[in-house]
Assembly symmetry: C2
Homo-oligomer: 319 residues x 2
């Protein structure tokens, strides 16, 4: 192969991680820069170029890069544009694929971060060999990457797979970042878990370790730590979260009947605290013909790796 | 083409309609038999064979049939089996593809009726040229056929696309035929419309033409007729139905971002009575990035034709 490498870039709200990846999925070199450092997108791309080329030189890979794949929030595979990058410091829309491709002189393909993670999982992780699965990312928000017939689902406009925004509570639901109320994301993200804890603390009188923390400072990590230490209220927060997530996954199953759901991101590491109520709820809410078929798996990839590997896999199809 | 015809067969609860179709999608001959006439599946297939071969002879098509496509309730594309044919008079599972293929000596492919309708619509109807759309069948139940990247979505087990069974009411929902409560089908099918009318008649005191009909005899057609005649309560039933259907379609949109929803079946013919509240509700519930993108279309095919044409299109890929 005359061009045996691809570059994978994961643009997160805080860090941009990038790496040189070979055809077997080995990250031969990687590094990162701060996403927020430059208010001008061109300055950011200049630094990204300089730092990436440093890696390319170190690997003796100049002229050997087949393509660049990028995962970024709200990045549209079809247009190459970041349409509305909520947590990014630049004005949207950003024609990212063109900007990077012009700077590097290499073909670029982009997609959103959850899709990139799904591609990474399919190529190198828990979804190897699966043709039908759904990746659910449980982080600050709830994202998803849907694979059907072995292909990423982009939809007619490139925005498919916003499963964090199905409505789980039609009455009196929580306000979501998308402007509507009752979305899955408002309950089953890390932020949602903290909100649930605050609600429970306010509406109940029972003692809880979480009462030692100023209410507005409570994070999902605090709730996890308290639950692990046996705190009843904190455990109830995970019960509540798992129940809603199970209801949602049961609904998703009737859509594409996936072989597995793969959970990814901070909350996915909560183990049985989340998985047990999730599996109970999934079973209870599942339509008969799908019962006991769908697997719930936790991602096998390290978070940073999954994003870079997934983005890099997209680099092979860049043109 | 040495074998320029396919046979399309639509097995409904009441009638089985079948036709000989050419490569341009012309139904060159068609006929039907009663599905319920034979309690023994082999007798049914014998009659189907005799009547179909009568058409084949009349068209001088013997030896010119490329394949047979069949649409039937709960028919599994992967296994060729009708897994649980609620409204059919034979014990399930039925290895339908094998039985028909053995009898006719021609390759057979089967799928469920909603998928067959979607294939018909994509090949010959309102979805011509679309690669991403969702067919919603509003009949006795609510069925669906999902097309993504130009391919039918069957899921890993062949059962994908049961969109009539997403949960729309998580509390105090109506009992559904699937054994759970709150399913879309319990509200937005023809049966659901009649149930809503009965509920409204019981819980309200206002006059309505529908009070002249014995409550248990009310059908969706009665509700339609009353609404068209200006009956306030009957119109409210359609408002209620359209509102829930709009909420459901907004949720489906975040999944696969289709170009269009295509409505098919009895209720789809209700015109603005259903479409107006549906469009209002869809717009109100749609996530921002999808607003004003998704079309709501009504099937362009005659009901019988869509099923036979859709099933027949599957005959081209039978092997």
């Amino acid at each position: 192969m005359s061009k045996p490498y691809v570059i994978g870039i994961d643009i997160g709200g805080t860090n941009t991680v990038f790496g040189i990846v070979d055809a077997r999925g080995m990250v031969v070199a990687s590094s990162s820069i701060k996403t927020q450092k430059h208010n001008n997108i061109n300055d950011y791309i200049d630094e990204l170029y300089t730092e990436t080329m440093r890696l390319v030189d170190a690997c003796d890979a100049e002229g050997k890069i087949h393509g660049i794949g990028i995962g970024a929030p709200n990045a549209n595979y079809f247009t190459g544009v970041i349409e509305d990058g909520v947590n990014l410091p630049w004005a949207t829309p950003i024609p990212l694929a063109k900007l990077v491709s012009d700077k590097f002189g290499i073909p670029v393909a982009i997609t959103n971060d959850a899709n990139a993670a799904a591609i990474g999982e399919m190529t190198y992780g828990a979804a190897r060999g699966m043709k039908d699965f759904i990746m659910i990312t449980l982080g600050t928000g709830v994202g998803s990457g849907i694979v059907i017939n072995g292909q990423m689902v982009y939809g007619h406009d490139g925005f498919a797979g916003e499963l964090g925004h199905v409505i789980m509570k039609r009455n009196n639901g929580r306000l979501c970042g998308c402007g509507r109320t009752g979305c899955l994301e408002a309950y089953c993200s890390a932020t949602g878990v903290a909100r649930t804890a605050r609600e429970f603390l306010e509406s109940r009188n029972e003692p809880s370790k979480l009462r030692d923390i100023p209410t507005e400072d409570i994070t999902s990590k605090d709730v996890y730590d308290a639950a692990i230490a046996g705190d009843k209220l904190a455990k109830d927060v995970f019960e509540f979260t798992g129940k809603i997530l199970g209801e949602a996954l049961a609904d998703f199953t009737v859509f594409s009947s996936p072989q597995a759901f793969i959970l990814f991101g901070g909350l996915a590491k909560s183990g049985d605290l989340l998985l047990k109520p999730l599996r109970n709820s999934l079973d209870k809410n599942m339509m008969g013909i799908f019962k006991n078929k769908v697997k719930i798996l936790v991602s096998e990839l390290k978070e940073a790796d999954a994003a870079v590997l997934g983005a890099s896999a997209l680099g092979w199809e860049a043109k």
